[in-house]
Symmetry: C2
DNA sequence: TTGAAAGCGCTACCAA
DNA sequence: TTGGTAGCGCTTTCAA
């Protein structure tokens, strides 16, 4: 492996000058610049990032803590982060916490041991206090929590609002008996969606029916189970609001198995707008979470925070995307 | 940040001894061991990985080149790699080439500049020759190509065989007019699946109908379009073999739009077995690609290759998973 | 078993 | 504008 010194020697300059040329730290005379350039070319010299790291104390790496490597939801956000980091000289180091506080903490230690310059945290179970504490060691940008200290910034999407939109839409379409399949009860977003469901019902003077709210865990299987229970309970309902799209997929399958048509017999609405929701049968009406934009936002923010620049975040907004899984009833 | 020297000073030993203790490089007396341990504990000392890297010339990082950060297909493989790397001291550095040879080459340079100890390449458009060349600089394990030099190992799944299975199954179920929606024509796997389709038809004495083979690109939209063309062509067919699951989703939606039932009117079979294929309506019969296992295999292989150990790879096998999108006809 | 010392390849300071 | 030099924090000889 060729080093600065070798380049310097061949080009007849000092290593310091080569370094200066490389980093644009100071002016280098035209003559030497050319000499250096051609030697770098000839020797195919590539600076050793590891040595740069050691010297500068920075790894030019951003740690990204996700909760799942296989979830389309998080994948979108990661793609956004990746895009935002492109061309900044920072590379993302991705680890997964699997929705488990201990594992998250452990992975973050691993990230810090690798001297990441910043951390992006995607949801998870860590307490805000823990994150604040961590932020003393490394600047943090988080999604799914409200934080705004100088070294820890975080934002949420307005899940409550999104749920209100979904339920209002159902009501506008004439639905009165609306079932809700919840997400995990220890999940902030899931709770907000439930609250939105309840409040919107109340706002429209619709009495909430306890039996129409059934537990789920954001996975397809729970949607399937929930609908089966709903159906067996004998409750009447014309629409189901699913806490997320995955749940809606499961719900839809349960309905299909019983020969119940969507949306003719029962309407279904989801939350998230995963890619595949455009191609379900029927295409799913759902509340879109602009995760890719969220990722871009996070990526940009962490770079700015590292550079001690002002964070001018524009938090992306949710919006209802109407497709074909909801029917108007009277 | 506390350093070895500080630990050494407080513990009353030399830095070298601390290092030896940390790495188990040599015997350290019980007495000093305890002293060092307690000081490390007290000072909360964490070795600076960057410095270790510089010294040892290794970054304890594995570069992973994927083609898409949002594809469920690649995500599974990445999760497998992640699992295999767990506890080995190696962390994956993931970059995406977006199915573009130039971008792949560029990202790989970035990975090498960061001194990754090994490279895992997931498909892509790079030529085998390029990969072989690259492998002089860094050991490589690749998926989707057959390579077996000491520093570059690669394997494929038997897509041809998988396609034969799918088509044989359709034929067993009584189908004779089987349409095929292809993948991109410059994609190795897509070609193998097409060949499997053709050969299996031939093997059963079924004449291939040119009009039943329609172009696609592995995306949902192409499946949708393809079915529309198929339908408009007026050709008779009772089953569609889609080059991958995404295509099948699109095809299924096109059928749905026309009020054509699956599988009662037309059977559909896919390839890949993405997670969501279990929850489509009806659940999709498809050829399973065990991508998670592939990822585990790759992760283990690259670590072994770096350690100059024997690679004892057991290449995972495809298999047909029968669900509900194919009906028996007579 | 231990310590001293010499770097790994780079950047940044200081002096010229 | 340039070169010499001193480290960054660690590991690894070499001697003791």
């Amino acid at each position: 492996m060729v080093t600065v010194h070798e380049v310097a020697r061949v080009a007849g300059v000092s290593a310091a000058t080569v370094s200066r040329f490389l980093n644009g730290t100071a002016k280098v005379s035209e003559e030497k610049r050319q000499a250096i350039e051609s030697v770098i070319e000839k020797l195919n010299y590539k600076p050793n990032v590891l040595a740069q790291n050691l010297k500068t104390g920075s790894s030019r790496t951003i740690g990204v803590l996700t909760q799942s490597l296989v979830s389309g939801y998080f994948a979108d956000a990661m793609a956004g982060i990746d895009e935002a980091l492109q061309g900044t000289g920072y590379a993302p180091l991705i680890v997964s916490g699997h929705w488990h506080a201990d594992e998250e903490a452990e992975r973050i230690e691993l990230l810090i041991a690798r001297r990441v310059d910043g951390l992006v945290i995607l949801s998870g179970k860590l307490k805000d206090a823990q994150i604040l504490k961590l932020s003393q060691r490394v600047p943090i940008v988080a999604f799914g929590r409200d934080l705004s200290s100088p070294r820890a910034y975080g934002f949420c999407l307005d899940n409550y609002w999104g749920a209100c939109e979904a339920v209002s839409y159902l009501i506008e379409q004439g639905h009165r008996n609306i079932a809700f399949i919840t997400g995990p009860s220890d999940h902030q977003d899931a709770l907000a969606r439930l609250a939105g469901y309840r409040d919107t019902l109340a706002k429209h003077g619709i009495k909430e029916q306890q039996q129409l709210i059934v537990g789920g865990d954001f996975q397809e299987s729970s949607g399937l189970l929930a609908v089966e229970r709903l159906l067996e309970s004998g409750q009447r309902f014309s629409a189901i609001f699913c806490a997320n799209d995955l749940t809606a997929y499961g719900a839809r399958l349960a309905l299909y198995r019983r020969g119940i048509r969507v949306p003719e017999d029962i309407s279904v609405i989801g939350f998230d707008d995963l890619h595949s929701s455009m191609y379900t049968t029927p295409p799913l009406t759902t509340v879109r979470q602009p995760l890719f934009d969220v990722g871009k936002c996070l990526g940009r923010a962490i770079v700015k925070m590292i550079g001690h620049e002002m964070l001018d975040i524009e938090v992306p907004q949710l919006n209802l995307v109407v497709r074909e899984s909801v029917k108007r009833v009277d």
